[in-house]
């Protein structure tokens, strides 16, 4: 093998022979999906990718885009960072997200707020119901302690290092990787503050649809929840699809659901008044 591939043309033929290989975790280009909502045109699909267990993905999404995440086999954990794409110093603020909405738990109708009083994304559909705004993700230290190893280059990558790589693909640095939310893996807060992890595994196919309320960069890591009690590093693939959609209209029920949320939308609309 090595002898043959010492010839550049043979190396080229070897590389080209891989074309058309299909694996589970990969992007589809151009994007294609046979299960889009009936009111979504196939031409409006902009992103179709399955994120590996332990993998990550990142994407810039225009205002109005819908992002659908599917927990294919019931054991995915989507740790999510969100940035304002044109000014990434503005980003998801988990403290404001729970404080402004007077509630600890994410779900349909909830807003993901930035540190500038604006809504970055809203949750349109959620049939999972188990999410977490408090625990963040694993890091090299926690994975080393729990699984004996946690490097990007090893078998049990940690969430923080995946988010760092995803953010770096947009020119961002360590100080840009901010507190995240975890989708599909949840926590319940007991009266004394105890955090009870809700990690399933669940039935496959749980789905969320988020709407970008600004031009955003999303970075998604799919690694086990940091409080996953299982000894084995356990996570399954996550599917991401995105399609173009209308900017939120004035009569949108999520926009108008609460006075605090409405002011977050007013701040977004003010930002785009230019």
């Amino acid at each position: 093998m090595m002898g043959i591939l010492a010839d550049p043309m043979a190396a080229r033929d070897h590389a080209r022979a891989m074309a058309g290989t299909v694996v589970e975790a990969m992007p589809l280009l151009p994007p294609v999906a046979d299960d889009l909502p009936t009111d979504v045109s196939a031409e409006d699909l902009v992103w179709e990718e399955t994120i590996a267990a332990g993998g990550y993905a990142t994407r810039r999404l225009a205002r109005g885009s819908r992002l659908r995440l599917i927990d294919l086999e019931g054991d995915a954990c989507a740790s999510l960072l969100i940035f304002n794409a044109e000014m990434p110093t503005e980003r998801l603020n988990v403290a404001d997200t729970v404080k402004v909405q007077w509630n600890a738990y994410l779900g349909a109708g909830k807003l993901l707020l930035s540190d500038m009083g604006r809504v970055l994304m809203s949750i349109l559909v959620d049939d999972a119901g188990t999410h977490d705004a408090f625990c963040g993700t694993s890091n090299a230290t926690t994975n080393q302690a729990k699984y004996g190893e946690g490097r990007n280059s090893g078998a049990f990558p940690n969430g923080r290092d995946r988010l760092l790589l995803g953010a770096a693909k947009h020119g961002l640095q360590r100080r840009d990787v901010h507190p995240c939310v975890n989708l599909f893996k949840g926590t319940r807060i007991e009266p004394d503050g105890t955090i009870t992890p809700l990690v399933g595994p669940y039935e496959g196919g749980r789905t969320m649809i988020l709407r970008a309320e600004m031009d955003v960069i999303v970075v998604i890591a799919n690694c086990p929840h940091v409080l996953d009690p299982r000894e084995q590093w356990s996570v399954t693939p996550l599917r991401a699809s995105a399609w173009r959609g209308a900017v939120t209209p004035a009569d949108d029920p999520i926009r108008n659901a609460t006075p605090e949320g409405l002011r977050a939308f007013l701040n977004v609309e003010d930002y785009f008044r230019r």
Binding site: K99, V100, G117, C135, N139, T142, R175, G193, I195, N267
Partner: protein, 211 residues
């Protein structure tokens, strides 16, 4: 022998002692092994608090790593304040308040517009203080993360209902923090006047560092 009750229980010589005025920022470097005591002089005063590693300020306090590591949302005596890389930065060695908050974040001009209305946009806020202090050392908005609110009470109800409620602090109550690495402490003595976190009346706090 001192008779200053704010120093009770502290061992080691006092190397810094300062009153932070109501509504003001404060930045101070605390060396490994030193203890910082925060005194809530008049009671019911939230002290918004961030930490950075002095050796590498991209490593900073992480509320998420801290609560995940201890499996509990509330900061109590014994809590280890962890960095975004999972390392111990400071330990709460003692506190006369039952618990402290780290999920409520800092008030900002922008979030005040959501919480209370656009008439509060021009009011002073903790994020203004954090930025003012951090900018002196070259840090900026990318360095703002979820903070600690000492002496602030944010219970989470069974249905997830959450909010800043009346303080559980009183005049003279304290929290002691031992530095586990060389750290930069950045504080906003919270100026918020639209909720009960400061009893609607921001007051001074005292910062005492012992070697």
């Amino acid at each position: 022998m001192t008779t200053d009750p704010d120093l009770a229980g502290l061992s080691g010589p006092v190397v810094h002692d300062e009153i932070v005025p109501a509504r003001a920022p404060w930045l101070h470097h605390v060396a490994t092994g030193q203890t910082l005591r925060i005194v809530d002089l008049e009671g019911n005063q939230a002290v918004d608090f961030l930490l950075y590693s002095a050796a590498d300020d991209a490593e900073r306090y992480s509320a998420q790593d801290t609560v995940a590591a201890q499996g509990n949302l509330f900061l109590r005596a014994g809590t280890v304040l962890r960095s975004n890389e999972g390392r111990p930065m400071m330990t709460i060695t003692a506190t006369s308040v039952e618990y402290h908050d780290t999920i409520g974040g800092a008030c900002s001009c922008e979030s005040n517009t959501l919480r209370y209305g656009h008439h509060t946009k021009s009011q002073h806020a903790c994020v203004e203080n954090f930025l003012e202090a951090n900018l002196i050392e070259g840090r900026g908005k990318r360095d703002m993360v979820s903070n600690i609110n000492f002496f602030m009470n944010v219970p989470v109800e069974e249905d997830g209902a959450l909010g800043i409620v009346d303080g559980i602090s009183a005049p003279g109550l304290t929290v002691d923090l031992r530095a586990e690495m060389d750290v930069i402490v950045v504080v906003s003595n919270c100026p918020q006047i639209n909720n009960p976190c400061n009893a609607f009346n921001p007051t001074p706090v005292r910062m005492i560092v012992t070697a």
